[in-house]
């Protein structure tokens, strides 16, 4: 086809518009990136000087120079000790039931819709739930168990949905092969479906734990005491965790300016922990991705 001037003009316009869009998208992406960079630079310049071995291994103190986050780290770890097994058990079992056993009907879609909606409920609401049920009804107060169970509820939908995705990603032909040899449903789940979906489930687990590590609001609602806490040594002890400590130090920075630096140092620790966990999740996902 012979090109006339009209067509060439139109072609120019199209190419121009394409270029324009490309650059606007890049610009807007850079804005978001710039904010992130500023945040990180700010936190690091403020906190890196305070982050040393002593900071990690000392107990909390009112004196900024002596204050450390050992108790906070232990509190966070113990919190995960509760959240991990609880969500894993409930999450995987729910996912297995929904994907493998439940008949696809009204009840199934009702449960499914609710789980999806729960994932979108603000974390404060979960805090209120935990306060009502665990703290008051079961009299667990603001213990690690109460906090852990509340956090478990919060991240449960994520684990369930992630596990469901992983189970659904196991090709149907593997199940058929197993059923075709006279295996029962449970044998098929245990020997074929779970091993094949485990990487996906683990990825979901780690991501949900990292969400739990970073959550503040539910713990605030539970009423974690604003006190210098001793290092907890049982799951029934009161505790504090990384994000909560950051929150309180930032609040108290009005009174003692150095608290802001302690908060920044703690943020660095939290970021590093999150970064490691997310990397682990990505690593697992890539390593075991699509072997069939």
């Amino acid at each position: 086809m012979k090109q006339n001037t009209d067509q060439m003009n139109r072609m120019k316009q199209r190419l121009l518009l394409n270029n324009l869009m490309k650059h606007s998208f890049l610009f807007l992406t850079l804005i978001a990136l710039a904010v992130l960079v500023i945040l990180i630079v700010q936190v690091f310049t403020q906190g890196i000087g305070w982050l040393d071995w002593n900071f990690l291994t000392s107990k909390l103190s009112l004196n900024p120079d002596r204050a450390g986050i050992l108790g906070v780290i232990v509190g966070t770890i113990l919190l995960m000790v509760v959240v991990g097994p609880v969500t894993m058990l409930l999450g995987i079992c729910t996912a297995i039931y929904l994907e493998e056993y439940a008949k696809k009907g009204r009840v199934h879609s009702f449960i499914q819709t609710n789980i999806s909606n729960l994932a979108g409920v603000p974390s404060v609401i979960f805090g209120l739930l935990g306060l009502t049920v665990f703290s008051r009804m079961f009299n667990l107060g603001s213990s690690i168990v109460a906090g852990g169970l509340t956090m478990s509820l919060l991240v449960l939908p994520i684990v369930v949905v992630a596990s469901q995705e992983a189970i659904r990603a196991v090709p149907q032909f593997l199940r058929e092969a197993s059923y075709g040899m006279g295996a029962t449903k449970w044998q098929t789940i245990r020997r074929i479906v779970l091993p094949a979906s485990l990487p996906g489930i683990l990825t979901g687990m780690i991501l949900s734990l990292s969400r739990a590590i970073g959550e503040t609001a539910p713990l605030v609602v539970l009423g974690i005491p604003v006190l210098i806490m001793p290092v907890p040594d049982s799951l029934m002890d009161d505790f504090t965790a990384l994000p909560i400590q950051i929150y309180y130090w930032t609040l108290d920075a009005v009174l003692t300016a150095e608290y802001a630096n302690l908060a920044a140092a703690t943020i660095i620790v939290l970021l590093i922990v999150l970064f490691i966990m997310n990397s682990a999740a990505i690593f697992i996902r890539n390593k075991f991705q699509k072997r069939y």
Binding site: K103, K104, P171, F173, L174, E176, A177, S178, Y179, G180, M181, G182, A183, T184, Q187, R191, I192, P195, A196, R291, Y292
Partner: protein
């Protein structure tokens, strides 16, 4: 006279040898409102290869999957009629699918080994049926792989992942896996449609070998394959059996014009 008697003797011998293993009686099957199988009646004899041919959507895959009740994995399926396996109706409520599938094994269209080692793939069957002794498992694995004509190719790498095998080897591994539970019947649903010609021939030869010990039902799109490997052939069309005949007759001088049109490539 003597000749005649010999002939009769041979006939009774053949009858004894070819006891009916799978007897399908007035089988009807619906997917929701749509009827996929209409009044199917077929008899499959012991240690014979029965081929099922027909155009896409004729119900041949549905039929073979109803023989081990895999078809019921689709919740919309509704079935009437009977399939007698060794004189027991497989659809009877006291007949568990697990028991049936132990007797009636299946090889699928696409090779579908488990993402496990070659050894574990074959040991899977005995394991789920409760065999734990390592020595016994070893024996079963070796015998199954030998019977599937794969042993020599994999005996030095039994612990490698099955996905490292070629497509044809994977399919023979799947056959070995089916043999490991020693079924009476092996159902094969287009077992070579995903394979290259050489692998296809290997599987076909294997079918001839397995015929010594197993009753085989094979669904195939490849009519030459049906002609080569089977003793009897059923031609399906629109959910019905148009013609069920011994393979030589069906391919050289079919009774029904629709069969003729199909096998000579005039439609379908």
């Amino acid at each position: 006279m003597i000749q005649l008697m010999e002939k009769e003797d041979a006939a009774t011998a053949a009858d004894q040898r070819n006891e009916i293993v799978l007897d399908t009686r007035e089988l009807n099957l619906w997917y929701g409102p749509e009827q996929a199988l209409k009044n199917i009646a077929l008899q499959m004899s012991e240690k014979q290869v029965t081929a099922i041919i027909g155009p896409s959507g004729c119900g041949k895959s549905t039929y073979i999957k109803s023989l081990n009740r895999m078809v019921e994995m689709n919740p919309l399926v509704r079935i009437t009629g009977q399939v007698m396996f060794k004189k027991r109706n497989i659809f009877h409520k006291n007949y568990s699918v697990e028991e049936l599938r132990t007797q009636v094994g299946m090889v699928f269209q696409k090779p579908n080994p488990f993402p496990k080692s070659i050894y574990e793939n074959v040991a899977y069957g005995p394991r789920i049926h409760g065999i734990r002794k390592k020595k016994l498992l070893d024996e079963i694995v070796e015998k199954s792989l030998r019977d599937a004509a794969l042993w020599d190719e994999v005996k030095d790498r039994l612990n490698e992942n099955a996905y490292g095998l070629s497509g044809g080897q994977q399919q023979r591994l799947c056959i070995a896996r089916t043999l490991s539970i020693e079924p009476e019947v092996i159902l094969m649903d287009e077992p070579t449609s995903a394979l290259d010609p050489i692998s296809t021939l290997k599987i076909e030869e294997l079918v001839q070998e397995l015929k010594q010990d197993y009753t085989i039902v094979i669904v195939t799109h490849n009519m030459q394959q049906a002609a080569r490997v089977s003793d009897q052939t059923a031609f399906f069309l629109n959910g019905e059996v148009v013609e069920f005949n011994d393979t030589v007759t069906l391919f050289s001088n079919p009774n029904d014009q629709r069969t003729e049109d199909y096998i000579t490539g005039r439609f379908g």
